[in-house]
Structure formats: structure tokens, C-alpha cells
């Protein structure tokens, strides 16, 4: 095709030699049109990409941001020593505290000019959950605060939360056994009078997971710690193993069938579905090596297997990008192979290696499938590990596993938590990628 046009043009060229170059000929116009059209295709592709990025960001933020807030009653409260003693002397202690709370709430409502609303203990129990036990807990732990004014922020139940932010309709709740129409009226009035407000829910970021019946109390904190310990394992294993393997393959290994085979297999491993690594981890680390289930150590080992090919490939690429003239220069002044690699090649390749490692870690951080099989998904992480051994060996969850668990729970309030978890996970991933970009910019060297 090109040959034909090429051989045709000289013949035409001789007949149009006198033609002016001011006017573009048909052939040039056609080529220019093709080029323009190609540019538009490119722009359209970028436009579609940007649109999806915005749509994704918007939907994640819209669905996930409510998970960071909770509806709570903030009430300034003074409990005297006598009231405390009296409550503690009763049989139903928490009911006594709840009575105080309701009295204070009623007083607050009267002050706010909503005195027509009559709050009762039963209704408050349905709306707020067990208020009394929260107050009792506080004063038993901080007896010195008795007699002082203390500001309590008592969260409403997750159903009220979702009702107020539009997640649940009134009809649906009225027909449920949890809240009566009168309760909802009270909720409406409390919200209008500003007693029931939205506050930032730190427990979502720092807290532990809750059971299936309490979406309001669910937090991602424990699984962040679980992910952190997994990343420690991945970093400690995959960086030295990956870099050593790459240096050997790139700088020392002879070029033969065996090293070719290894190279092909490393590339193939990078494309193996991660669930395969999960089932391998289950068979090798848990069933054969008897390591504990759901432990971040096992998760880290599995993710190491997954991250190694990524690190090896990026490390070899950055070693390759160091010009051979540097190696020749080092050998030329009498450095040994080892000295030329460690004194000259490796420092120059370091930014690339670091970037590859961080991107590999970020991939591992977001990986869910292998964790399904080693028992990290579905585990309710109710406690924080205390110390390194416990962090590595005690069962825990990980961020993506926790998100998956929440998304799979039946209560729709967990769905919102899952979106919120995705936001936190994305913040971590973006931070890691930002570090990678920063390192590359700072240390990259050009020849």
C-alpha cells in the first residue's frame, strides 16, 4: 500500500514540479484530515476517561461521606454525687441514669421552645439505644467528674441516622417493629429544634468493627492496623527478595535457557489472578505450615507472593535504564562487578526501585481476593492488637476485607459504611502514590 503510493508519487512529482507549494494538494489535505481526526479520537478517549473518573469520585463521596458523621444528641449534663449514689443503689441502675438523661433532654427542649414535645423513656430507648449504660459507664470510669458540667454526645440509632439523612423512608420505618410513628415525630422535632445534630464520627476511623446488628458502632480502625501489619510483612520480604533477584537476573545471570524460563515465569506470575495466590496461601501457609487463620502474617505472606513479580519487573526495568556506559566506566577503573553494581548502578536505579515497590505495596493494600481464602474476610475485628507479635499472629481484618464484609451484611446501614471505608482506603492509596511520585521527581536523574 505504502510502496504503491511511494512509487507513484515521483511520477506525479515530475508532472507537477512547477506547482506552487502555497496551495496544499489533495494528498496533503487528506493526510492532514486523518491527523486531525486521530487527534479528536484521542481527545474523546480522554474525555470519556475523565468523565468516568468524575462520576466515580462523585458517587463514592456522595455515598461514603455520611459514614463519617453520625446523628447525636449533645447535652450538657451535671450529675451530683447524691444522684450517682442513688442510681447505684437501685436494682435497675441504667434505667435510673436514663431517667436523668430524659429529664435533662426535656429541660433542654423546654429551653429551646419545643416544650410541647414530651419525651418518654421508652421512646428514647428506641431512638437512642441504651443511653443509661453509656452515662453510667462514663461516671464509673471518671468518678472525679461528678458534680461538674459534662458535655455528652449520645449517638442516635443507625435507623434514625439513616432516616434523617434520607437513606430510609418514613413509611418503611413506621411499618417496622423498631420505631413507632410517634417516635419519628419526636425525632423530627428534636432535629428541628437543633437538639439532634450531625457530628463527625471519629469512631468510624479509629474504632473496631461491630456485630451485624450495630452498624452505627462499626469502625475501620482495627482493620487499618491489620493492613499496616500486612504491609510490614510485604515490605520486609518482597523488597529484599525482589531486589536481590532482579540484580542477579539483570547483572550477573548468564543468558541461557534456564534464565529465559525464569524470566518468562516471572512475567506470567505477574498476570496470575490474585485468588490463585489466596488458595496457594491457604494450602501452604495455613494447612501445611499451620500458621494461624486470619492472621496478618499469613495475609502478608500471600500478598508478598503477589507483589514479588511487580517489584522484580519494575526493579529490572530501572536497572536496565542505567546506561551501560556507567558499568563500563566502573569496570574500566578496576571495580569488581559487585562494586560496579552496588556503588554505581543500584544508587542510580534506587528511585525507580522505590517507586515500583510503593506501587506494588499499594496494589497489595487494595487486594481482597486472596484474603477471602485465608479467613480475613468476615472476621469481626473487635479488638486492637497489643504489640508486634499479637499484631502479626492474632486474627484481624484488613481494610479491603473489612469493606467487603460490610458490603455483604444485610443491614443497609453497613452499605454506607462500606462506601466510607472505600474513601479511607483510597486516601491511603493516593497518599502512597503521592509518595512514589515525590520520590521519583526528587531523585530521578537524567542523562
Amino acid at each position: 500500500m505504502t510502496d504503491a503510493t511511494a512509487s507513484a508519487s515521483p511520477a506525479r512529482g515530475s508532472s507537477t514540479r512547477t506547482k506552487s507549494i502555497i496551495t496544499t494538494d489533495a494528498n496533503t489535505r487528506r493526510r492532514n484530515r486523518t491527523e486531525k481526526r486521530f487527534q479528536y479520537y484521542g481527545l474523546a478517549a480522554i474525555g470519556v476517561g475523565v468523565f468516568f473518573l468524575f462520576a466515580l469520585t462523585f458517587s463514592i463521596l456522595r455515598s461514603g461521606l455520611p459514614a463519617f458523621t453520625e446523628t447525636a444528641v449533645t447535652l450538657d449534663f451535671t450529675l451530683s454525687q447524691e444522684q450517682f449514689d442513688e442510681a447505684e443503689s437501685q436494682v435497675l441502675k441504667t434505667a435510673a441514669y436514663e431517667r436523668f438523661f430524659v429529664q435533662e433532654l426535656q429541660a433542654e427542649l423546654n429551653e429551646e421552645g419545643a416544650g410541647d414535645v414530651q419525651v418518654e423513656e421508652d421512646a428514647i430507648s428506641r431512638i437512642m439505644g441504651n443511653v443509661g449504660s453509656q452515662i453510667r459507664e462514663f461516671y464509673r470510669e471518671n468518678p472525679d467528674r461528678l458534680g461538674e458540667e459534662v458535655s455528652f454526645s449520645v449517638p442516635a440509632s443507625s435507623r434514625v441516622d439513616r432516616y434523617l439523612n434520607g437513606g430510609l423512608s418514613r413509611e418503611l420505618l413506621e411499618n417496622s417493629r423498631f420505631l413507632t410513628p410517634e417516635d419519628l415525630d419526636i425525632v423530627d422535632r428534636l432535629s428541628e429544634s437543633g437538639v439532634l445534630t450531625n457530628v463527625f464520627d471519629w469512631d468510624f476511623i479509629t474504632g473496631t468493627d461491630s456485630g451485624v446488628d450495630n452498624p452505627g458502632g462499626a469502625g475501620l480502625g482495627a482493620s487499618v492496623v491489620g493492613s499496616f501489619f500486612m504491609m510490614l510483612v510485604v515490605l520486609a520480604l518482597s523488597l529484599p527478595i525482589g531486589v536481590a533477584a532482579s540484580i542477579y537476573l539483570e547483572e550477573f545471570a548468564p543468558q541461557n535457557k534456564f534464565t529465559d524460563l525464569i524470566e518468562v515465569n516471572i512475567s506470567n506470575l505477574a498476570a496470575v489472578p490474585s485468588i490463585v495466590f489466596g488458595i496457594l496461601g491457604l494450602a501452604v501457609f495455613i494447612q501445611f505450615a499451620n500458621l494461624p487463620q486470619s492472621a496478618p502474617l499469613v495475609g502478608g505472606l500471600v500478598l508478598t507472593l503477589m507483589t514479588l513479580p511487580t517489584i522484580i519487573i519494575s526493579t529490572r526495568a530501572s536497572l536496565k535504564s542505567v546506561p551501560p556506559s556507567i558499568r563500563a566506566a566502573a569496570l574500566g577503573v578496576g571495580a569488581s562487578k559487585m562494586q560496579s553494581v552496588f556503588h554505581h548502578v543500584l544508587p542510580l536505579a534506587a528511585p525507580g526501585i522505590l517507586t515500583g515497590t510503593i506501587i506494588g505495596l499499594a496494589q497489595a493494600l487494595g487486594e481482597t481476593a486472596p484474603l477471602l481464602l485465608i479467613g480475613m474476610v468476615g472476621y469481626v475485628a473487635r479488638t486492637y492488637p497489643d504489640g508486634l507479635t499479637s499484631g502479626l499472629l492474632d486474627p484481624n481484618s484488613a481494610m479491603p476485607a473489612q469493606i467487603y464484609t460490610w458490603a455483604a451484611r444485610s443491614d443497609p446501614a453497613f452499605y454506607e459504611k462500606a462506601w466510607g471505608g472505600i474513601i479511607i482506603l483510597l486516601v491511603f492509596l493516593l497518599a502512597m502514590n503521592a509518595v512514589a511520585i515525590f520520590l521519583r521527581r526528587k531523585f530521578e536523574r537524567r542523562w
Binding site: A328, L331, V333, A335, S336, H343, W447
Partner: protein, 267 residues
Amino acid sequence: MYDADHNRTETRVGQKDIKISCKDVQVYYGTNHAIKDVSVEIEDKTVTAFIGPSGCGKSTFLRCLNRMNDTIDIARIEGDILIDGEDIYDKRVDPVQLRAKVGMVFQKPNPFPKSIYDNVAYGPKIHGLAKNKAELDDIVERALKRAAIWDEVKDRLDASGTGLSGGQQQRLCIARAVATEPEVLLMDEPCSALDPIATGQVEELIDELRQNYSVVIVTHSMQQAARVSQKTAFFHLGDLVEYGETEKIFTNPQDSRTESYITGRIG
């Protein structure tokens, strides 16, 4: 040409010692026979030029002299290369030690992306030539002076070596090579990436280096060979066609191929 004449009169005065003696050297790249039966004796304190058309094997042969071809897996070398009577391809010879004795300057200036000081100090450091910082400073200064670049860089030894101009970079590489106190200096087309002025500076330097070293230079430029060398070897298709006094090669070549090359009919 005047320089060449001047040099020639000098070489005639005293008989020079043989520094490198090569006998029946064969180099194979896989199945490709790159160097065929090359025997040559390179004198001490002399500049020897290897000339010839591209792909004739002159660089390959040069790289045999400090075993840089060892880094190429498929390269195979036969025959004897003796430096000061010692076979450098002997099993007991560590190429690292050899390369401290036989320095090399490459075609493209390739300073390490480190400071000027570190570039020169690297070789002496790894060979343990300096006992302390003061000695190392001395070695660096001496090497930079010998490479005729000291005056240009003495105020910015901490600046990066890659920030210098092309000619300065090449002279820095020469300083780096002489810092390890080699006895032979191999130069693989050291001026091909330089402009005429930088080339002139490097050629002047090569002439000075002759006082202390046996210099072997590969060059594409016949004028350069005539200007800087006392001995010239002409390679063609892996054969050493002719070797002798530079003056004789350029004025009265014995082989018709040499004549064709010099007069510009081949190559």
C-alpha cells in the same frame, strides 16, 4: 602533521621496551570470527594508534587488552596477550587487578553522576591507594593536573561531573583513568564525541601522557592518528594488515589495502 614529524624524530632516538606483546590473537563473537591471527608488539611510552574502517575489529582488539570483552557472554578469546611478560588471560589473573594496571577511556565521556572529586577518587579508593584524606586529595589533584583540567575545576570539585562540557568530561574521564596509576592507557575513540577545540586539548594531553604511559588509541580519523601516534596499526575485516612507524604507514604503506584506506578509496 608537524607534531607527528616532531614525535617521529624522538622515537628514533632510543629503542623502546615492549609493553604489550600479542601473539595469534583470535576473537570470536559466537560464530563470528571478529579478530583473526593478530600479532602485535606495543611499546612502552609510545602512542600506538589503531585505525581502520568501522567494524574492522580495532575496538574489539583494544578491549581484549584489559579484558573488557569478558563482560560479553558470547565473546571468546584465543592466543596470548602478555603485559610485561605476564599472560593476562592466565587463569590466575583477576581482571579487576588487570584493569587497575590497564586504564581505559571510552568513546563517549561517561563520568559517574557524582562530584568531580568523587569521580577521580573512586578508583584510588577501591584500590586502597590512599591511606587518608590528605593523600587522596593529593592523588585527585595530581590526576586532574595530569589530565590538564585542574585549573578549570579546582574551585568546584564538589560540582557534578556530568555538568561539565563534553571536552571537560572526557578529560575528567582521563583523570579518573590515570588516578589509579595505570601503566597502559587504552582510549577507544576518545575524541569522536568532541568538537575540534576539545579534540585539540585531548590530543595535546595524549602527547603529554606518553611521558608516563604506554597509550593505545583507537581512532576513526587518520589525521588524528598521524598527529598523535608514533606507531600505527591498520585493521581491516578482523585482520591486522599493517603495523609500523606512523610515518611509514602514512607515506609508504606496504599493503595495497592500507594504501586504499589512507587515500580514501575504502572505509
